[in-house]
Symmetry: D2
Subunit: 151 residues, 4 copies
């Protein structure tokens, strides 16, 4: 367990995040899963496999970005009041090193949470089963909070 109980978001928030994540077809297609839901911070893991690769066999920058974008989006979402939706306004990401490892771990962390806009830091690590871990991508993301449509 990476997280102690008090670092976790409330059960309500965790359920809200997990439910939304489960509706993201792309995360399922990629094989990604939520591993940490803390207030203002969310981790998403992606096992490395040829289906998410680029032409040299590393994980594709698009797959790396996809889990980074979702991690930041849900990190913002953990701080929103109920009945809100989150949309990515924009993000920027640097691919610092080839995305090698047995899996990637994306960490989205809220830097500033405003009434309308939230800014997150995005980090993606290449993680080996033997414990080696290296930062492979680093980014920054702007998100907007919207009121969810009434049902």
């Amino acid at each position: 367990m990476e997280e102690t109980a008090q670092e976790q978001a409330s059960p309500e928030v965790r359920e809200r995040v997990q439910d939304s994540f489960d509706r993201q077809g792309l995360m399922r297609l990629l094989g990604a899963r939520l591993t940490v839901i803390a207030p203002g911070r969310v981790h998403i893991e992606l096992p490395a496999r040829p289906e998410v690769g680029q032409q040299h066999g590393y994980v594709h920058a698009g797959a790396t970005s996809s889990i980074a974008d979702s991690a930041g989006g849900y990190a913002a979402f953990t701080l929103f009041p109920e009945g809100s939706e989150v949309l990515t306004v924009e993000y920027k990401i640097n691919l610092l090193a080839p995305a090698v490892g047995d899996r990637l771990e994306a960490v989205g962390t809220v830097l500033r949470s405003g009434r309308t806009l939230t800014v997150c830091r995005l980090e993606v690590f290449g993680v080996h089963d033997d414990g080696r871990r290296a930062l492979v991508a680093n980014g920054q993301q702007t998100l907007i909070r919207l009121d969810a449509p009434r049902p």
Copy 2:
């Protein structure tokens, strides 16, 4: 046919780009395909389907970004001498509107091609089968040219 003959890259370049694209597991997983390979400009199409969606049913920003990143990378690649490889250094993308349509079309266009670094404009359009077409994402990308390892 969107492109006239003289706008296409040479057969050698087209083959080089298509071969590399075919080795990108992620593009196959997403269901994306190359539709235009012109000198300094490449188009990639992605049919919209639930498997590439986010929680509201639109195409996920990560899928939108993935085809934009590949389109820019291959646009740069069309201008490289043989024996080169291309890597994304970084990109920034604004999601301007919900990614709706029957398919997305990403267009990568070289803005400046240098000896080491190339900068591309990234555009993604939501395209309906009835011909409606709207810009849904706009970005900017920096790429680096590397010498391919000798076989």
Copy 3:
């Protein structure tokens, strides 16, 4: 004259933009001036001089960015209803070539104008008195519209 009459913003909008620009201490310090105020597009010129330079004598990326940021901000502002304020949320800029020339010309162009957020393209050209002109920087900017405080 670069602009024909019908391309100019209305006298009211032009005055609003010019008044705001005149309150930007930094633009005066740099020696920048507004040259075009069209609906959704604004140009700002900066004469090249050692006071705005970096260590190699070219115009500093910060000065290049400053006029680009203001050009984009005022381009957004031309489309806002009266009683609005504009703030830069974020921007990204690529310095494509050394900023040489007798002056720089920044062009901010609205790509998408929404109720809350506006996205602009930023371009900066190095312009020589003999007419040569080259793109030296290219960027993308997100802005937010706020209601001006009641007086």
Copy 4:
């Protein structure tokens, strides 16, 4: 003193950075000064005054960005071998809060230093004389190392 002796860069590196900074006309025009030169990290301070302001009296995003860009550039430069030059390839910056305070402090920190490219984190704090301090901008920058021309 914010820095202990062992955190400072070597006297040679400090002199190289200070000499280059002193040739940046823009830093002098803005009234900025170098306050920390550590290996892979550089701080630049800018007193807030109307001459570096925008239309609402806060420090202009362009001035904020200018010191952030220089701080990142010199942070990269501290890790370069002698006879190198540094150029900004691109940067992205989020303006998180109005740039208020008696002065701004920009901190550039190297995230990854490669043979050709360096990536820095950029942070700008608004600092009050009474000790209050808040993050007002956060960014990410890519730089390239060039060989200095032989004299």
